[in-house]
């Protein structure tokens, strides 16, 4: 019974946070992209930048709403399902969450109204400022959340008094060892997600005949941005991995599928990890490469999973398969992004043909990659979060310590309800994005938020 509650609560939290992260991943970067469009418009006065702005601000509004409502759910989940977390580390998690709400959440929420509907109501510079503040708020929000999440991976700057964590050094807590890597990695992931989304949807519009100037600049900007960012992301990911090896070696061992500590460890490309036998089946690897990547020495020593089993048989490493596979999905998607974005950039640059230089198969490939950022981001988060298990706060509290004593059937019923709602909303979200793209390609106005009403009622003007 208790075990079922734990498992179901974990699945529910995973479902909630997986659904939630999809939308911040878009808004964190899309806010800055919109600001870029707006600034280009301010500078050049070219209508095409504003055309791109107007289309993407709608996707932003939609994503933002999805992010807000699923974020509210997150803030309640701590209390309904994981009360032990706040009771034990609330003195540290609390202020970080409070700062997130106060400095970021409100900033975004209030200025979003002006950003979306204020263009004709406020001076242009106020509207630009509102766009900036929304983008800035979203980034701040990501910062505080990543600080807390990173602290759960690499906790420091606190002392335990009567089983409760008390903060001793706030700068150590905020700038904990994994924070800079995780934050950079996530922000870049967001920019890549948005680049591929914009590229994919613009390619879709281009394919169905909406060849406007706005689509042209959006497509080109997105492809070039993706091509520039992906190598940086791969490099940052590598640094992040080295940082993880230092602080959470069990996670890296699971990512690599490496059971035994040894020197000259191979990089495993494919394997089916067997948790019972504690070995890999069907292993295909490149000799010594894992040692080289992780220690920069062909014969360097790499810790294996068997080092994280205590003498009385307690397993202190995560389940291997999910971590092993999530990691490969993330890396694989990243490599595919590299291939597609560089090829597309080459096609654009070649003889300066611009967007016209993209052949149909490449446009289709871009459409297919529209949501590739989501896949890579989720796979990355699964790698790091499942990789933290069995800990909730690494070395401080285990996940099972924190779970609420709610009957399993109750958790199951809410879990099913959430899953149904999320599946429906996700389908609606993707449908509406493509619907808006089709509508825009046909040249229909999507400028108004509500249908313009005929003069059924005299329409009073705002009291100016």
């Amino acid at each position: 019974m208790e075990l079922e509650t734990l498992l179901l609560s974990r699945i529910q939290f995973a479902a909630n946070i997986s659904f939630h992260i999809l939308f911040p991943t878009i808004t964190i970067a899309l806010g800055w992209v919109l600001l870029f469009f707006k600034l280009r418009y301010n500078r050049t006065g070219e209508e095409r930048w504003m055309e791109a702005y107007r289309f993407w601000v709608k996707i932003f509004a939609l994503s933002f709403a999805m992010g807000v409502v699923s974020g509210i759910t997150m803030s309640f989940q701590f209390g309904t399902n994981w009360p032990g977390f706040m009771e034990k580390v609330g003195n540290i998690a609390g202020p970080l969450l409070a700062y997130e709400i106060m400095t970021a959440f409100f900033l975004e929420a209030v200025f979003l109204g002006i950003m979306l509907f204020g263009f004709s109501r406020v001076p242009n510079w106020v509207h630009t400022m509102a766009t900036f503040l929304v983008a800035f708020g979203t980034l701040m929000s990501a910062f505080w959340i990543i600080v807390l999440n990173s602290w759960m991976h690499t906790p420091q700057g606190f002392e335990m008094i009567d089983g409760v964590a008390h903060a001793t050094d706030w700068s150590a807590i905020i700038f904990n060892p994994s924070m800079p890597y995780r934050f950079t990695h996530m922000v870049l992931a967001s920019f890549l997600t948005v680049s591929f989304l914009i590229a994919g949807i613009s390619a879709f519009r281009w394919l169905i005949g909406g060849k406007t100037e706005g689509v042209r600049v959006a497509l080109k900007t997105a492809i070039v941005a993706a091509a520039l960012l992906i190598p940086v992301q791969i490099l940052v990911g590598d640094f992040h991995g080295l940082n993880t090896k230092e602080y959470q070696p069990a996670k890296v061992a699971a990512m690599e599928g490496n059971w035994e500590t040894g020197t000259g460890v191979p990089l495993i490309l494919f394997a089916i990890p067997d948790e019972e036998a504690r070995e890999n089946k069907f292993e295909i690897g490149i000799p010594k490469l894992a040692s080289f990547i992780l220690t920069h020495d062909w014969n360097g020593e790499v810790k294996g999973l068997n080092d994280f089993v205590t003498d009385d048989g307690e397993v202190l490493h995560p389940r291997v398969s999910p971590v092993f596979w999530s990691f490969r999905v993330m890396v694989g998607t990243g490599l595919l992004m590299l291939l597609v974005s560089w090829t597309a950039t080459y096609m654009i640059m070649r003889r300066k043909r611009g967007v016209e230089g993209l052949p149909k198969p490449m446009l289709y490939a871009l459409v297919g990659m529209s949501f590739s950022g989501w896949l890579a981001t989720l796979a990355g988060w699964y790698t790091t979060e499942i990789g933290r298990q069995p800990w909730l706060v690494h070395g401080v509290m285990s996940t099972k310590e924190a779970v609420a004593d709610v009957p399993a059937p109750l958790v199951l019923s809410t879990l099913i309800a959430y899953l149904v709602v999320y599946a429906a909303l996700l389908a609606a979200y993707i449908f509406v994005i493509f619907y808006l793209a089709r509508k825009a390609a046909k040249g229909e106005s999507i400028g108004t938020r509500i249908a313009p009403t005929p003069a059924a009622a005299p329409r009073p003007m705002p009291a100016e």
Partner: protein, 336 residues
């Protein structure tokens, strides 16, 4: 940190005050936009658009007050947060799903193809209704001490209905302020039809609380405290009378006084809330955990307080700015 005496006394008190203020601001602000959602089935398609336009620029920020309120409960009183939310597991989940539905319906109804608009209108209504009912239910359970007995359950069902009608009332007063002509006249009728929810809701909670615990009974009916508290019910009664008299004559020529029903409704909420806060203090989980027992470590509260002192006035300022920019009657919302 020791400037104002013992920080383990004044910090929890300050945070209880901040949390109370956030909840109060939330029930007024999100109360009106939830109420507008509850009133949705009574409006025709044109009116629905205009009602949405009247809350469109604000709802995001309105709901953020709920996040702040539950966030403050979470960070300042962690053990109470766990106790309250696990006891209210199911209504919380229903509320969250309601909030999700109505929040996304705002966006979808404007962007989805026309035939789907009806579906999203329904989602907006259903989400608003679920949210209001579950909040009212939670209010009832909280007042009765979070014990799942049949009596408490029945009482909570009652408060669920009252709060929902109460929200529809404050929503109607918002529509009166933000619209004109036929819709405004309709909204006056809605307000007249909804005011009883507010009155019965406040009445039920006021009557029930003293009987839940002798401690609260003594707080209200012992001398001389009773004397200081007399203005609260009297003022509330006067407000209700004033509201009713005003609604009967609405709308006034040239739209005079259209903001007053909303202001009066807000004042009523403030008083009802003040009365409740007085009853329950110093408990955060009724009759079980006081704010002093549940509070986080003073050094953590202090670091949040510093931020709050800077940030809260700023939030207030730009909230007021946003309401100012979008003042006046609701015109259609345009992205450009």
């Amino acid at each position: 940190m020791y400037y104002f005496g013992d920080p383990t006394i004044w910090l929890p008190f300050v945070f209880a005050g901040l949390m109370g203020a956030s909840i109060l601001i939330y029930v007024v602000l999100d109360g009106f936009d939830l109420g507008v959602g509850v009133l949705f089935p009574f409006a025709n398609d044109d009116e629905k658009d205009r009602m949405i336009a009247s809350i469109g620029p604000f709802w995001d920020a309105n709901e953020t007050w709920l996040v702040l309120a539950v966030g403050l409960l979470l960070v300042a009183f962690p053990s109470a947060h766990g106790a309250i939310l696990t006891a209210l597991y199911l209504p919380v989940a229903i509320m969250l799903i309601g909030l999700i539905l109505r929040g996304v319906a705002f966006e979808f109804r404007a962007k989805a193809p026309a035939p789907h608009k009806r579906l999203w209108n329904n989602a907006f209504f259903a989400g608003s209704l679920m949210t209001s009912l579950s909040q009212g239910f939670m209010l009832g359970m909280y007042v009765m001490g979070l014990e799942w007995t049949w009596l408490n359950f029945a009482f909570a069902l009652l408060t669920a209905v009252f709060l929902t009608v109460g929200y529809s009332f404050i929503g109607a007063t918002w529509v009166i302020h933000k619209t004109s002509a036929a819709l405004q006249i309709k909204a006056v009728d809605w307000a007249k039809g909804g005011i009883w929810g507010l009155i019965l809701g406040i009445g039920a909670v006021s009557l029930a609380t003293p009987f839940v615990s002798t401690r609260i009974f003594d707080k209200w009916f012992s001398w001389p405290e009773a004397l200081y508290l007399v203005p609260l019910p009297i003022l509330s009664a006067l407000l209700v009378y004033w509201l009713w008299a005003m609604l009967r004559k609405m709308p006034y020529p040239e739209d005079r006084r259209s903001w007053q029903p909303f202001a009066a409704a807000t004042a009523l909420w403030v008083m009802a809330f003040g009365g409740m806060a007085y009853s329950f203090y110093p408990y955060v989980v009724p009759e079980q955990i006081t704010i002093y027992e549940a509070a986080s470590a003073p050094e953590s509260l202090f670091i949040i307080l510093i931020g709050t002192c800077v940030v809260l006035p700023t939030i207030m300022a730009y909230t007021v700015m946003s309401y100012f920019i979008f003042r006046g009657k609701a015109t259609e919302l345009r992205y450009d």
